[in-house]
């Protein structure tokens, strides 16, 4: 599938409509409908999970773990780079998100390269700012000031042969008190990255 987003994300709580980022289109969808470019949503950064995800049937999300836990080895490494030889697993992420426009709490899950390109710096910003926003959660959206004179502001085009995929350029809009629906955590609390001071393990940054 190249760099395109694999579109089988499980995204809802208990079934229902899916919330996805469509890298080949450069927009988010809910229940198959495109969401506006200025769509913003709350991220529960305390329950981010990462790990090996398989969207190719049979789907497998059992290797996701809280941040700070070793992702371990690929459960099914590829045998080469050709068609049918690549591993069906890729490292990805799963986050709980909230917006009234997507009917409350949903999961955003992806192991696509484009989504990871976009969300990696976003997570860095979130965890850097979280220290000064204890108890709050970030509201995020496309950063429409970036690439604003292009066809898709807030996204970065990546051409791959005849196709184009879109990296989401995300920003933190503001920090808010957690919506009540997100208050009950269903996944292990992520370890927010802070330097160790007791010398018992290697510090991080």
């Amino acid at each position: 599938m190249g760099l395109g987003l694999i579109n089988n994300e499980e995204s809802s709580d208990g079934g229902g409509a899916f919330f996805k980022y469509m890298a080949n289109q450069g927009y988010y969808t809910f229940d198959g409908e495109e969401l506006d470019d200025d769509f913003a949503f709350v991220i529960d950064h305390t329950t981010v999970e990462t790990g090996w995800i398989r969207f190719v049937p049979p789907v497998d999300f059992s290797h996701l773990t809280a941040l700070g836990v070793d992702n371990g080895a690929n459960p099914e490494p590829g045998t080469g780079k050709g068609e049918g030889e690549r591993s069906p697993y890729s490292l990805g992420f799963k986050i709980r998100v909230y917006s009234k426009k997507i009917d409350g709490v949903k999961h955003l899950m992806s192991n696509s390269y484009m989504a990871k390109l976009g969300y990696e710096p976003l997570f860095d910003k979130i965890f850097a700012e979280a220290k000064n926003n204890a108890g709050k959660m970030p509201v995020v959206s496309f950063d429409l000031d970036r690439n604003k004179d292009t066809k898709k502001p807030g996204r970065q085009a990546h051409k791959n042969g005849p196709s184009t995929n879109w990296e989401p350029l995300m920003k933190i809009v503001k920090w808010v008190d957690p919506p009540a629906d997100l208050a009950v955590a269903e996944t292990p609390k992520a370890e927010v990255v802070t330097p160790s001071t007791d010398g018992s393990e290697d510090p991080e940054f």
Binding site: T50, L67, F93, F123, S196, P203, E204, F205
Partner: protein
């Protein structure tokens, strides 16, 4: 597989980050194509002076013993540097460097004895530190080796000191040295981290740079490089990285050949 893994890079260092920021061509030549990047005799002089000072402030040897030890180290290191025109002139600076350096270290008392790294028993004992650059998608340990550690200096604050032998004393630490200092400071919370610069004329102690800001910038640089490294193999990266035909890092015959062979200049 992340970009670092793709190029068999399992750890980083201050010099790696500095290359990533300032010398992308050298980064690719050295760390992707895996070419050796030996230091010149000026670097060997610095190592010899450090080894000599260590004999005094760690092991309590005399200045004379320290100088003799430093010459032995230096002569072994430069033995095969047959084209380096500065071998002799650098050797002549060792004695003075040790004497001035020992004087500069006096306020800190006795330094901690370094430990042998069990994983690398062939190397001389060193104070190894590690800090992990961690993102949700990859993790890269940055490793450093501390020159001198003073756990109980008269100031009362445990202190790490890195020694720099240099031709001219700086007023402010270079950005490269500030990055090295930031890694040490972040890896060893609670320690003061100072750099002592020793020139033939004088010495100075500096501790410049906003550590959190520098660490944040280094992380951003590493995130960019991980993405860049993931674009392709070493040959591909060499074909697209912006390079100058007279890159000053490619300043020896072997490196000029590398510049021609790998980068097309």
């Amino acid at each position: 597989m992340n970009g670092f893994e793709r190029h068999d890079i399992d750890h980083g260092s201050a010099s790696m980050v500095n290359d990533a920021i300032n010398n992308p061509g050298k980064f690719i030549a050295h760390r992707c194509f895996k070419n050796d990047w030996p230091i010149g005799s000026a670097g060997d002089r610095g190592n010899a002076i450090e080894a000599g000072i260590e004999q005094v402030v760690v092991y309590g040897k005399t200045i004379e013993e320290a100088i003799a030890y430093a010459y032995k180290i230096y002569d072994a290191d430069v033995a095969l540097k047959l084209t380096d025109r500065f071998v002799q002139s650098n050797r002549e600076k060792i004695e003075l460097g040790i004497m001035m350096g020992v004087e500069a270290f006096k306020p800190y008392g006795k330094a901690l004895e370094p430990e042998l790294d069990p994983s690398r028993p062939e190397r001389k004992p060193q104070h190894k530190v590690k800090i992990n650059c961690k993102t949700p998608f990859w993790e890269l340990p940055l490793i450093g080796y501390l020159d001198f550690v003073f756990p109980n200096p008269p100031s009362g604050v445990p202190t790490i000191i890195d020694l720099k032998t240099i031709a001219k004393i700086p007023r402010v630490m270079s950005k490269q040295h500030q990055r090295q200092r930031a890694i040490y400071a972040a890896a060893k919370p609670g320690f003061d981290v100072k750099f002592i610069y020793v020139s033939p004329a004088s010495t100075v102690t500096l501790e410049d740079g906003d550590v959190p800001q520098i660490m944040s910038d280094m992380k951003k640089a590493l995130i960019r490089w991980e993405r860049f490294l993931n674009l392709g193999d070493a040959d591909f990266l060499a074909s697209i990285v912006p390079m100058s035909p007279d890159d000053s890092e490619f300043n020896t015959t072997a490196r000029k050949e590398l510049l021609r062979e790998k980068f097309g200049f």
